[in-house]
């Protein structure tokens, strides 16, 4: 795939204008703040901000959303180090070493290491993304409807299997997402179906009300069921503020360079995990932390070592760019946040697919440039405002939750000024509440919801091409057979893994 210089120059002009740069900075600033608040996740922030992007130019919209994504993944480390309360699950691996350093009076070093290792791994993994995505898209272009159907089915099995400890719960979530994705009308003949005879469901369920309901409104409902104030004490806040004001204890270049091996492990593991649909930043962080601990047994990782912070933070931030690879190469979102970024692209008229490289090269280049520029913004904003962000962990839930509720309602309404979308969002919030209470992962639902129409379209096209013979539809090439075997293997391995986990848990209990 050769470089389109005209598109590149257009992309540069789209990104390097004041409006876009400003919204990237806003995205990072809000994202780091959201990440620092325990209980709020990147997907919640992106879902809430998604409706604001509809009136923006495409590069500005991408800048805001990617800024939010990058910022919130890093931001979780601030409360993890400061209060031993991870702002988001992906920062949980940072708690052991980061908070131990904090208690030893080296909190500033830990916060700086978290920032520098996050930005370094994020930047390098973005370069990998830029190299990998076009190559994969070229391969994907050779796929016919049958192969595409199998890739989509493989993505669903991976998402369901890898998204939680309970395979059945992950798969139920994916199955429900597929079912919801069929609501409205069928994607080929546009015949109305599955709309409960409600006229406002005839166009199906749009993505923004679904994600805002599942991720944000469900949280508001749950907090109303449990009206307790969560957050660290005021004394802790004073400690952090004082620490960040102090002139000493900053991270030295020598100390940062000493952690090259752990940052490299985080980069490798995080990038690999990021490309696989359904895994995401939490797995990236824990896996690279575990690998670094094995690889450097003498560095005291787990007892307050900078290397531990570096491995965990590099591991989670290195997933950010690669998680977009399946989206732009195959049109399959690799994570809930990637699904939301894909949704934003659809609303801007650029549906993610392998053909995006030839149809909208300027958008792809803008995305790549924003991924790289976002790291610089993350570095500066994270560096200078860490003190303020540390305080955000203290915002009382009684102020935060009503604000999220209001943003959810008005954000959904703003999508198309349609109040019935608010009704859909509120109902999806109840679905999300059930998922939270029953500990069912939400990400498979959102990803499968986006995959459902694509899967149906491709299967039916393949069915038509093969003259309505289902065996030829499904297995018309060696690649289709290979992908089908991969689907079966993925399910088999995840079932084996579940059984092994249960057996181990049983042994521990006895």
């Amino acid at each position: 795939m050769s470089l389109d210089y005209d598109a590149l120059s257009l992309a540069l002009s789209m990104v390097f204008q004041l409006e876009t740069l400003l919204w990237i900075a806003v995205g990072i600033a809000v994202g780091v703040g959201v990440g620092a608040m325990p209980g709020l996740q990147s997907s919640t922030a992106v879902a809430l901000m998604l409706p604001l992007t509809f009136n923006m130019p495409v590069a500005t919209a991408l800048g805001l959303l990617i800024g939010l994504y990058k910022g919130s993944i890093y931001g979780g480390s601030i409360s993890a180090i400061s209060f031993a309360t991870p702002g988001a699950p992906e920062s949980a691996a940072t708690v052991a070493d980061g908070n131990a350093l904090m208690r030893r009076g080296k909190g500033k070093k830990a916060l700086h290491m978290a920032l520098y290792s996050s930005v370094t791994a994020d930047f390098l993994s973005d370069l990998l993304t830029i190299l990998m995505a076009p190559a994969l898209a070229l391969i994907a272009l050779k796929f016919g409807p049958s192969e595409r159907s199998w890739v989509l089915i493989l993505a669903i099995t991976l998402i369901g299997a890898l998204s939680g400890r309970n395979l059945s719960k992950g798969m139920f979530s994916a199955a429900l997402g597929l079912y919801i994705g069929t609501m409205g009308s069928d994607p080929i003949g546009l015949v109305p179906r599955n709309n409960f005879d409600l006229w406002w469901l005839r166009d199906g369920i749009p993505l923004p009300p679904l994600v805002i309901g599942v991720f944000a409104m469900s949280m508001v409902y749950q907090e109303l069921l449990r009206p307790e104030v969560i957050g660290a004490g005021r004394e802790k806040m004073v400690d952090v503020a004082a620490l960040l004001k102090s002139k000493s204890e900053g991270l030295k270049l020598r100390e940062f360079l000493r952690c090259w091996k752990e940052i490299g492990i985080g980069l490798g593991v995080g990038s690999f995990v990021g490309v696989l649909p359904g895994l995401g930043a939490t797995v990236g962080a824990f896996l690279s932390y575990a690998v670094a601990k094995q690889a450097s047994p003498n560095k005291g990782i787990g007892d307050g070592a900078l290397e531990g912070v570096a491995a965990a933070e590099a591991g989670n931030n290195a997933t950010v760019g690669p998680t977009l690879v399946p989206l732009i190469a195959f049109g399959i979102p690799g994570s809930a946040t990637a699904a939301l970024i894909g949704g934003a692209l659809v609303m801007q008229g650029a549906t993610p697919s392998p053909r995006m490289f030839s149809l909208f090269p300027e958008i792809i280049y803008s995305l790549f440039i924003i991924l790289l520029v976002g790291n610089l913004a993350n570095l500066f904003i994270g560096r200078f405002f860490a003190g303020i962000y540390a305080r955000l962990g203290e915002v009382p839930r009684r102020y935060l939750i009503p604000l999220i509720g209001l943003m959810a309602v008005m954000g959904t309404y703003a999508y198309q000024q349609n109040p019935y979308h608010v009704v859909i969002m509120l109902v999806m919030g109840l679905v999300g509440l059930c998922f939270r209470l029953f500990r069912i992962p939400e990400a498979p639902l959102v990803i499968a919801f986006m995959i459902a129409p694509l899967a149906e379209q491709n299967l039916r096209k393949a069915h038509l091409i093969s003259r309505e013979d289902w065996v030829t539809t499904l297995f018309n090439s060696p690649l289709s057979v290979g992908l089908a075997i991969a689907c079966v293997l993925s399910l088999y391995l995840s079932i084996r893994f579940q059984i092994a986990t249960r057996v181990r848990a049983g042994k521990v209990d006895t």
């Binding site: 179906r193 599955n194 009503p402």
Partner: protein, 156 residues
């Protein structure tokens, strides 16, 4: 609500899936054949069948009776009433903010939810609601969304 386990959750999801499956199979569109030879309802039916299978697996898993879902224990009639009130306020805001004005409904929404979340200081609550309302109003205006400030009868 005590001892709500994965078994109970699975059974609840199974009932929900059965209801959706009944809706699909009894609908008048499900078995209509399209020009490409597939039924309109084939994909919804296949996906809801998957829901039934996995809900059943959640309910029948070996450890389903021992996996307790503590969060369900937080549910109470008061909590449910708060959610119902929130739903009402959200619908009022979505359907009537143009007619009744965004400012009043927004402040009402924030104050009500602030009280539900345990905020008992009226002055701070009102100041908070007014500030959030103003910030959100300005944000939406800056992004090109027009909101009605006061009730339409005021003519503003």
């Amino acid at each position: 609500m005590r001892n709500f386990t994965d078994r109970s959750a699975g059974l609840f999801l199974l009932c929900l899936s059965v209801a959706l499956a009944l809706y699909v199979v009894t609908s008048d569109w499900a078995f209509v054949e399209m020009r490409d030879g597939t039924l309109i309802g084939s994909f919804p039916m296949a996906f809801i069948a998957l829901c039934l299978v996995f809900a059943g697996r959640i309910a029948l898993a070996k450890d389903a009776l021992t996996q307790t879902l503590e969060d369900v224990g937080d549910m109470s009639v008061t909590g449910a009433l708060k959610i119902a009130a929130l739903l009402g306020a959200a619908l009022l805001l979505a359907f009537y903010h143009e007619r009744l004005g965004f400012v009043g409904l927004c402040i009402l929404f924030l104050v009500m939810n602030g009280i539900f979340m345990g905020q008992r200081k009226p002055v701070s609550l009102l100041v908070y609601a007014a500030c959030v309302c103003a910030a959100l109003f300005l944000l939406f205006m800056a992004l090109g969304f027009e909101l009605t400030v006061f009730p339409q009868s005021f003519g503003v």
